[in-house]
Symmetry: C2
DNA sequence: CACGTTGATTAGACTAATTCTAATCTAAGA
DNA sequence: TCTTAGATTAGAATTAGTCTAATCAACGTG
């Protein structure tokens, strides 16, 4: 298994102790944490890190493809170390966010397949360049 | 064509001049504006409205089903007066948000159908209640 | 159709998330 | 080892959104 440092080198990202610490924390985490959660948890084990660096590091790792953003409105930013193609389910009561397999792609498909869940909303956004901007 | 006031009455929402002004502005708008944009535009024609009322009114209209939220991360809240089932396309260069027909539902389908666009990301989120919370 | 109650509106203070600043430090190529 | 571009830092600044408590107004009732 590759270490956080190896991942950084692979993606040509300059290696710093802070970046390795953030990445290491995230790779052992399935909770889709917010920047503040990351800061608090990493800071415990590694007091030499500031909040601004956590935000900067998240951006760097997103750009390098080592993290994925979770698209949840009305909440803070959340990130996912699982960068494979998949989607998310957010519980409106307890707020937890779970991964959903990519195969469950259409709204009706999601509703039918997640039988143990009570799906209320399925929202999709595409991003890219519009006709004018291509 | 129904007036903003008629829409409010239909949904059993108490009619106020502020609510009618916000709804009137939105119904003539396809730009998916942010709360601040709504405040500035409505305030020009109708100076007797405060920022807090714009936020309150948006919530009221969302709850009544007269508006829909657009799910775009790393940006402010945006709302859409088109409450029919559809999704959105955001241009990463100019930032505009366009409506996408509901029929284009799967990621692959979106990519193939939006030929004039350069689709980079298709993101989907389901919301509801998880097993524990049902 | 005036009255009263319930809910709406207001300005501005407050909070939370994120970004900026400018000084200092450090990774890593020469 | 030296150099320099880029990373890190604490804390200030900014921004989006919520809260507060006083005032106001819609609209059902009498």
């Amino acid at each position: 298994m590759r270490t956080p440092t190896q991942h950084l080198i692979e993606k040509s990202v300059k290696v710093t102790a802070q970046r390795a610490a953030v990445l290491e924390f995230l790779q052992g985490n399935r909770d889709h944490p917010s920047p503040d959660e990351i800061y608090r948890k990493v800071h415990k084990r590694f007091p030499y890190i500031s909040r601004a660096t956590v935000y900067n590091t998240i951006k760097t790792l997103l750009k390098a493809g080592l993290l994925q953003e979770v698209l949840i409105q009305q909440d803070t930013t959340r990130v996912d170390p699982n960068v494979s193609q998949h989607h998310h389910f957010k519980c409106l009561r307890c707020g937890t966010v779970e991964d959903m397999p990519y195969a469950l792609m259409t709204a009706d498909h999601v509703r039918k397949s997640l039988k143990n869940y009570q799906v209320q909303e399925v929202r999709m956004v595409a991003e890219g360049l519009c006709r004018q901007c291509r």
